[in-house]
């Protein structure tokens, strides 16, 4: 089976519900030409009512600008940039990520918290010494709360 035969676009992605709270993840094809391995994504409320968290996973092997232009939105988001499972700590890449109008240079395993309303992106992978994992996690706007003001 060729990759193209089983990878759909994100718009057509349908994960499979096995029970009320158990979702089988199906592969989809990145819009970025440099991301060739299948992506998987938990679709939050689309998969399960009350599941306020969506998360997508990608395997990055080549430099690219893997984001849109600078933007903001009314929900919290997190980006994880980590090594592969044999050693999650081993991130050998150079990344530039614009966060709150400031470019952060990243060459260590990390996550970035993007509070709702904060401008962010582009996220540019400048160099890949070793392939790594990119994760995009986001809460619903209803769960993006600020109990302490």
């Amino acid at each position: 089976v060729k990759k193209e035969d089983f990878m759909v676009s994100l718009e057509k992605l349908k994960n499979v519900k096995h029970t009320k709270n158990l979702i089988e993840l199906k592969p989809w094809k990145s819009v970025f030409d440099t991301i060739t391995s299948p992506m998987i994504t938990a679709l939050g409320l689309k998969d399960i009512p009350e599941s306020n968290l969506s998360i997508g996973f990608a395997y990055i092997t080549k430099p690219d600008n893997i984001s849109g232009p600078s933007h903001k939105h009314p929900f919290d988001q997190w980006i994880f940039l980590i090594g592969t499972p044999e050693n999650f700590l081993d991130l050998d890449a150079d990344i530039e990520f614009e966060l709150d109008k400031k470019v952060e240079k990243i060459n260590y395993p990390c996550y970035a918290f993007i509070p709702k309303g904060m401008y962010h992106c582009p996220l540019v992978v400048k160099r890949v010494g070793k392939p790594f994992i990119f994760i995009d996690a986001r809460l619903t706007r209803e769960a993006s709360i600020r109990p302490t003001g």
Binding site: S30, S37, P38, E86, I145
Partner: protein, 164 residues
Amino acid sequence: MVKAKIASFDKLKNVVREPNVVELMPWKSIHPEIVEPMITGLGNMEVHDSHLAMGFGRITRPVTMGLPTHKHPHDQWIWLIGEPEHFHEFDADVEMTLGNKIVKINYPCYIFIPKNVMHCPLAVKRVGKPFIFIDARISEEASVRPKTYKKHTPVKYIAPKKKK
């Protein structure tokens, strides 16, 4: 090269490098079957307002985690997925107690554990290929149940340089 000693989870201190950017440091699993270093983002313990805590482990052999059966007042999610070249390929047999059922899993998945639902243990019975285990949880305050949700714009990615 001298291998640095890896901290236990209770001594884990990630490094806040920029106001919202946190370098992840290694910690040692309490399960001897999990040999590679774990990493965990500690949520609002390290960044104010950051309600998501998320930990990652590599599973290479059978192991039972999460004993005893328990519940908590926050939402949690468990991901069981293949290694990065093929996240969607999962070759293992796992049993997880969720509510009053044991679910059997042999496919890449996630499990949503709503607040106050009894769950665990999570028993990895067989490992055909090593896989990634992820434990994600949000704060009690963020574990909301609104009567209605505002319409969310679907996630859309734009590839500025995509070839036609």
